[in-house]
Amino acid sequence: MSDIPAENLDRKPARDRAAAYLLSRHHFQWPEALPWIIAIAAFFVFPDRMTFGSQVLVMVMFALSLDLILGYAGIVTLGHAAFFGIGAYTVGLAAARLGWSEPISGLIAAGLVSAFAGFITGWFLLRYRGLTLLMLTLATAIMLQETGNLRSDFSGGYDGLPGLEFKPLLGLFEYDLYGRTNYLYVLAVLAIVFFFVRRIVYSPFGQALTGIRENVKRMHAIGSPVHRRLVTVYSIAAGIAGIAGALFTQTNAYVTLTVFDFDNSAKVMVMLILGGTGRLYGAFLGAVVYMVLEDHLSKLSPTFWQFGIGLLLVLAVLFARRGVLGLFEDAGQYLKRFRS
């Protein structure tokens, strides 16, 4: 028994270490509580800015859904607003045309409808890459917008569906003037969605997605069903974007066709890039920083705000490709090396 080759002895601990590493990634670490503590603290610190707060949380969820496909699976899309819009209009049309104004069931319906739309479009579009995929996703979103405009008798067109009313949450909580109920509602939904996404990302399925992002050819070579995986994650992300859109309609009590705008797709991408892709909390940081900056600067001067966003993007691509969170990581590693 003593003649086991030395490398065999080495291999087992290495495999254990790898397994332990994967498991430890899945465990919650204390810094992960930070965004949630801040979100709850914001509720008490800015009680009169809760309408804005809800908008920020909605955008966090939208950016999170994009992170799943862009950050993890590496699908570059210019039409993610399509699903946000589908969710927003599912809830809006149901309330305005069918009188279906119960919020939670509306939310679920919006998620399912968007996920189905993601499945259908993803099935066709995810065979393509590069410019073709960019144009197809972009065209899909604008087609939806034009269809809505064509049937403006039904959709309300660019004037939108104003003055929607929704039943109290769970039949218990009325909406207040300051949007506090809405804020807690959105926060609760965001928490559920976030833990769902986190589970996906750290599952073997999530690892396969990262593999597809890093090297599609190798994933094909090891027999991974690449197209099926991509369509699955695209549908999930579409569903989450739809839920974000539904929350957008519910918290604003109105919706217009501008939700399908290219600007909306570009905005959410900018948020995610600024925060950092493929790292879950990038969506939080990016959306909050973007929305707060926009809130302050665009009132001051919309022109400078637009210039600033453009400059930020250029600088981010040239110097900080992994976003603000990536910068933090680099700084942390630099400090570590500096100490030792």
Partner: protein
């Protein structure tokens, strides 16, 4: 994000009213068909002139340049400044604008773009969207958000009589200019040494480099020419659609569609795609003005689903 009102006459609504109410069916049918073809042709020439550079540079380097519309917009504003503030004629202003923008674009290419040739699609998209945003903001700062117009020389105003009916002179001028440019570009692309090098590099960049073609230099050259042509397109577009800062993204989508369905790096493909988009969009707006850009996007999706690399692209 649609090119609202693009290429459609002011009387498009009246036409579509007549059309649907069946007033004088046969003659109107012919009038409408001729109008659609003619306006569509003029529109297609604008699309071709503006997009052809984008197609060739994308074919050469695979670089996704979303700032191409910004170069077109810059050309438009240079023309506005030259004609309105300095009193230079429209045609000289067009030439000066395209040369200036072409020269300035080299600075961007050498300074920024070349760092990202090997980068991912996403990074190229982000850099160039960033540049487009900055360009829009700069234009808004100096020129304001209100659409600008440009004074035309007398011979471009009014209508031109072609015997069986009259056409707006400006659109006729666009068609003639487009045909001339197509001939020049075709000659440069198919019959000159540089054109042969470009075609070789689009086909197989590594092979072209290994036989001693300086693809980097070639790219800078085509980038400058492409941006210059985009600026020319921007200047020509003022009279058609009016020029506002949002031009940089509003029409970018159309240029990208032309490039994508034509096939990267193909002159023939770009021309065919420009004709299809121009005529379909104009036709759609005559027949069903409310549909906006619906038909263009429908065509885009159908073409790309069947031929992902476009009409004449390499699979």
């Amino acid at each position: 994000m649609t090119a609202n009102g693009a290429a459609a006459h002011i009387d498009a609504a009246a036409f579509s009213f007549l059309y649907r109410n069946g007033v004088g069916l046969v003659p109107h049918f012919a009038i409408i068909a001729v109008s659609i073809l003619f306006d569509g042709l003029a529109y297609a020439m604008f699309l071709f002139i503006t997009s052809v550079g984008l197609s060739v540079t994308m074919g050469l380097m695979g670089f996704v340049n979303l700032a191409h519309g910004a170069f077109a917009m810059a050309g438009g504003y240079v023309v506005v400044t030259l004609t309105r503030n300095l009193g230079i004629g429209f045609i000289p202003a067009l030439i000066i604008a395209s040369v200036t923008v072409g020269a300035v674009s080299v600075v961007f290419e050498r300074g920024l773009y070349r760092r990202l040739y090997k980068a991912t699609d996403l990074e190229q998209v982000l850099l160039t969207i960033g540049l487009a945003f900055m360009a829009i903001a700069t234009a808004t700062y100096f020129y304001g958000p209100i659409p600008k117009s440009v004074p035309l020389p007398e011979w471009l105003q009014g209508d031109i009589n072609l015997g069986f009916r009259t056409f707006p002179s400006y659109r006729a001028f666009l068609v003639v200019l487009g045909v001339v440019l197509i001939a020049v570009l075709w000659y440069a692309f198919e019959r000159t040494n540089i054109g042969a090098k470009i075609r070789a590099a689009v086909d197989n960049r590594r092979m072209a480099e290994s036989v001693g073609i300086n693809v980097d230099l070639l790219f800078t050259l085509t980038f400058a020419v492409g941006s210059g042509l985009a600026a020319l397109g921007g200047g020509l577009a003022i009279q058609l659609f009016g020029l506002s800062p949002s031009f940089a993204v509003l029409y970018l989508v159309l240029f990208l569609i032309v490039v994508a369905i034509g096939g990267l790096g193909s002159l023939k493909g770009t021309l065919l795609a420009a004709l299809v988009v121009g005529i379909v969009d104009t036709g759609g707006k005559y027949m069903l003005a409310e549909a906006g850009g619906f038909f263009i996007y429908a065509i885009t999706i159908v073409v790309l689903l069947i031929k992902p690399a476009g009409f004449y692209g390499r699979e």
